[in-house]
């Protein structure tokens, strides 16, 4: 973290909210990691984002050199788009897992990372 860098930039079109459970997962790796992931994600939530499923408003965005993935829900607010973060997992979701869709992989990974405390509504 650069102390002289000033406030981290945020994407002007997005309002980002972080679920408590998502932050709890991150705190296991320390608040420093949490801040880095917040900053990286809030800079541009749609940067290299992939839709979890064509019919769902959920996205997976790789952050921190693609070491983590942020799972979040997109909705339209009055002035800005809203990105509601549900969980962060230490995976890239690259490649194809045998017999599993991305939706299933994300759901399983989130359950593991949060010890079952986060249940995604899909």
């Amino acid at each position: 973290m650069n102390l002289f860098q000033g406030k981290p930039k945020k994407h002007p079109d997005f309002e980002v909210t972080w679920d408590e459970e998502a932050d709890d997962i991150l705190r296991k790796s320390g608040n420093y990691t949490l801040e880095q992931i917040h900053n990286d994600f809030e800079l541009d939530p749609l940067n290299r984002a992939v839709k979890v499923d064509p019919d769902l408003p959920y996205f997976v965005t790789p952050v921190l050199d693609r070491r983590y993935s942020v799972i979040w829900q997109l909705s339209e607010g009055a002035e800005k788009k809203i990105a509601k973060v549900s969980a962060v997992v230490p995976l890239r979701f690259a490649g194809v897992a045998e017999g599993l869709t991305l939706k299933q992989r994300v759901k399983t990974a989130v359950q593991r990372a949060s010890n079952g405390r986060v249940a995604l509504d899909f």
């Binding site: 320390g30 990691t33 070491r67 230490p90 890239r92 490649g95 045998e98 299933q104």
Partner: protein, 595 residues
Amino acid sequence: MAKNSVHVLFVHGVGRHSQLSSLLGAYQALRSDLRSTEVPHPADDLLNKRWQLEEFNQVGPPPYLKLTTLYPEEPGPLNAYIYEANYAELSGVIRENQPLDITYLFIGFDLAVNVARQRLNRAWSAGALSLLRDTQIAAVVQRLSEVFVAATVPILGIPSLLLRNYTKGFVSNFVRFFEDIATFAMDGQSEKLLAEHFKKNVSNIISSKQFTASPNHTDGDTLVIIAHSLGTVVTHNYLIGQWQNGGPQVPQKLLTFGSPIGLVCWMWLFLDFQRMTFDASGRRTGDEYFAWTPVPAPTSPLQKVQWINVVNHLDPIATVFPTSYASLAMQEPALVQALDGKAVLHHYIRTGGLLSVGAAHNDYFVDRRTFCDIVSRVAGLAPDADPPPPERSPGTHWQDALLHLRLLWWLSWLLGIGALYGYFRLLTDSFPESRRFAYMIPYIFPPLTIAFLGFFQKLFFGRPTKRTREEVLGAVYWLDMHSFPYKLRRLVTRIPIVTPLFALLLSRSPKVVIRIGRLLLGFIPTFFAMFLPLIFLAPPGQGLTSTVFSFVADHPVGTGALIILFALYTTAFAACQFVGCWREVLVKVGVPANR
């Protein structure tokens, strides 16, 4: 990558010699930022919380770390075993039993280069025009070998002895590096010891209870070898052996970094083969420099391997080599069938700038964004499916290298000139400045300084070796500035009284006296070159020798300072010449930036 387990064997180059050093070094580099002075933080863990350490087996053999994935549904292996083969440690044991003399090692190498270079020049003159580029490279290699010969004066000679409290770390690394190379390349028995040790390590991994083998690499565990520096040469040798024997123990993936394979293969072709043409027919001249035996091309189908080679900016050991060097005996069309991607895949990284040249060879793991990503992918610790982070292009890499080498040449030259000026300032305090500069002129040309030091080292110690016999030495040219001192020495030693007199002296003297005598002898030309300007201070009728000795007697502390400054000057000029030759080789080879 198979779903079962991946087994990653790290093969050491020259360097630290404690057991587990590369194993823990690689593991720690992936899990924390080794350059950070803070206690490691989870934010720096490239494996995140995806992998957990399940077992640390220090017994082996070989010792290993077992990592297990916490996300078994994700693509990739379930377990990762990390092993190490400590080549340098074993080599150290071998050399402890039989130490080498580095001065003779360098001179022997220089002599062999002389012989091979002149042989190549003759072939080119006889019409082998395709050898033009190799003859040009050979000329630069000759000057490079002379740098090593000359550098033994300040690095191993009297100056180093006087400053041993400050230089012993550097000197021991310098010596150790070349001893290790000689052990594997020139000492046939030791090469076999190391090769067998390596083979046994791989065999132990494959036959261990944790390894699920499968014929044809289809659905069993994955074997990955990640080798650094000289470890890459040992691994290359292993791969050739496995291909040759149709052996099943070929790794599916091979990552080499900081690898001198390009340099070593070229040197082998240059020193031991006629017209740079690999010949596995079994014919030997008996004067080969390397201890290796050329093996013919394998006849059975080869096990496929994915070979990635990584080169760091300004790493003096690392080479990019043509795919044909993967097996010198094979025709390229057949060889590429055995390589995933039909070639050795080269990647370029940059961990530092202009002054990183001393550290570049050992700093690969510092590059967490690109190099650690490559390691993680090759080792199956990160998914290999999404696009890798952007890399340096070969053009940018070589362009930067050529520019930085030019700057380094000037920097080391200026450092040498600074030391030289300090030296002359101290020695000729009473001289007017213009006169002092006039005396400095003969000393300011690095090639001249190195040629002077090299000339006398060769003259004093350039005896025929077991690899370059008297007859071979007799055939090199008089009219060649690099081989002239050898011829002169040969002529002098043929004077009837000289050789018996030396033999008598050596047989009657204790070893320590011989050693000190040799150091003093090697230092005499430097000593006189150092004090040559004093000739202009000598009173009428007094010679240089008596002026020098009276100066030394009158200024003992000042003489010490002079030796330090002169050693700094010669070392800086050796570095300058080394960097100049390195750059020239890149230009002659025709790296992309130069095209």
